[in-house]
Amino acid sequence: MKQTLLSLSNLSKQFDGKTVLDSLDLEILDGEFITLLGPSGCGKTTLLRLMAGFEHPDTGTITLGGEDLTHTPPEKRPLNTVFQNYALFPHMSVFDNVAYGLKMEKRPKEEIRQRVDDALAMVQLGEFARRKPHQLSGGQQQRVAIARAVIKRPKMLLLDEPLSALDFKLRRTMQVELKRLQRELGITFVFVTHDQEEALSMSDRVVVLKDGQVQQLGTPREVYERPANLFTARFVGDTNFFAGRVDVANGDDTITVDVFGLKRTFPKPDFQVAAGQLLHVLLRPEDIRVLAPNDDDGVAGKVVERNYKGSTLDSVIHLDDGTEVLASEFFDEDDPTFDYSLGERVKVSWVDGWEWLLPEENTETELEGAVDA
């Protein structure tokens, strides 16, 4: 079992009367790769800046390994930051940028040289030591920023959307590289992003934030497959929400829910249910099966959109009751019935047991999660 490294408790922060963080609690474990995920304005960057010490919370405490850091200035914290646009010192060479932290510690010259060389080798920039930041590409600047931040062997590395300025391909490469670095260095990484795919693919744990509050904390898999609420479900990946009504709450283990007039039995969810209650049945597009119109199973509808995506075929199906369904199916070359045309009538079904149930919520959270990632 991993130990808690950084613990945030009851953190609140307001800017000009606007609440950015709202009594937030969070425990970050030693050695993990944890991602703060949320739309812009959710408080993730503020949270990171509180950890780094650039801002101070209005209330609450930050402790690192039991030591209170809440009001420690940034230069006295054993944490380092990789900034969004790298913040490399433009007047210093790559070497001097990376050496900066060690110079502040007044390390002997020889040690500084050795450690900077090592750090640059680690990010494969050994031969660029004499260059100035503006002579490097975006990806190279990114590596310098990382080398500069890890050279002091911080207990924790804070990364503020570090990949957002890179193009798609480079971002992929850097994602892999960051994971490798984190494994090699064994440092706790706190990674801020608004890109849910990035969050899911890199993290040990994901913190979903909205309005300065933690919406969900869990492994990528938990967050994706078992979202804690409608916001998380909407923000992380595409989701179909089907309206359901509890038909029978069968004692302890299962409930029967009426979806599109079909009676389905589910394991009892971890929220209170009573007969007649409305709830959401969530299905990811890849859980949806599109069937022939004469199939016994499923709900009837008509294909209104189809997009060829290379490895999958994504379609939108308009059910007869007006519900729109997103379906994403992997190609099966051998299945002749796989393809269908626009306007074609089909039936929609899903794999039993892949549904996820969420209770009805007050509708104020409407579509706020629909931020483009």
Binding site: A52, G53, F54, P73, P74, E75, L79, N80, T81, F83, Q84, N85, A87, L88, F89, P90, H91, Y100, G101, M104, E105, K132, H134, R148, A149, K152
Partner: protein
């Protein structure tokens, strides 16, 4: 449009701009006493210049004034720019506006208004009054130069420095000042030149106790021709050329 027409035109205008200066330089080496006919090569006017004690004194006075005015205006201007860039405070627009007014208002208006002030408070006209006046008209130029640099300044840089263990003071010394240094130098050089060149304001707020070069030249050239002025002008030209190249070099070197 064909290419030679614009080129010829540009060349022609540059010629017009430079002919008088060339004439001045050439005639500074003229041995003849009449300032118009060529009488052979000589350095006699340079000699005469340096034998003129009052002239040399005025030169030193001017240099010292320009040096101090440029330095004071750079310090105040840089602080002003930092304050404007960084702080939110009441009357920021008014402050900006006042700087703009100083920059745009005709020099002569600034000159008489300062003269009025100095007489009102009983300040004797001399070095101090000249310094106050020169700093005032240099100030907006320094502020603008430094502001331009700061507007491209990444707010994360000071944070990065603190994050890596630099104290507030160390951050200022190792990051903030080096990054805005080119602007400070450019602002300083601009102030230095403006001060050295100023005639209008100095005519009003200067006093006999502290004679400076432009005023001395002014009294010389008002009547007739003085060949020493050719020599002096040439020296000033070389001097400003060196200063200007220095500032351009600094700016180019700092271009990111």
């Amino acid at each position: 449009m064909s290419r030679w027409l614009p080129r010829t035109y540009l060349t022609l205008v540059y010629l017009l701009l430079y002919v008088p200066i060339l004439v001045l330089v050439v005639f500074s080496f003229n041995d003849s006493r009449s300032g118009y006919a060529w009488g052979g090569l000589s350095l006699r006017w340079y000699e005469a210049l340096f034998n003129n004690r009052a002239m040399v004194q005025a030169m030193w006075n001017s240099l010292w004034l320009a040096l101090s005015a440029a330095t004071v205006s750079t310090v105040i201007g840089a602080l002003t720019a930092l304050a404007l860039h960084r702080y939110r405070f009441r009357g920021k627009q008014v402050l900006n506006g006042m700087l703009f007014v100083v920059m745009m208002s005709p020099e002569i208006v600034l000159a008489i208004s300062l003269l009025g002030l100095f007489l009102l408070v009983g300040l004797q006209l001399g070095y101090v009054s000249l310094l106050l006046a020169h700093v005032t008209f240099c100030l907006p130029f320094v502020v603008i130069t430094v502001m331009a640099r700061l507007s491209g300044f990444d707010e994360r840089l000071p944070e990065a420095a603190r994050d890596l263990g630099a104290s507030d003071f160390t951050m200022t010394r190792t990051v903030l000042i080096p990054v805005i240094m080119p602007a400070l130098l450019a602002g300083w050089l601009l102030g230095f030149t403006l001060s050295l060149d100023d005639v209008v304001v100095s005519t009003f707020v200067g006093g006999p106790s502290y004679e400076i070069l432009p005023l001395r030249i002014y009294s010389m050239v008002r009547v007739g021709l003085k060949p020493e002025v050719n020599a002096l002008g040439t020296l000033l030209l070389v001097f400003s050329l060196v200063m200007l190249m220095l500032s351009q070099w600094i700016l180019l070197r700092s271009k990111r």
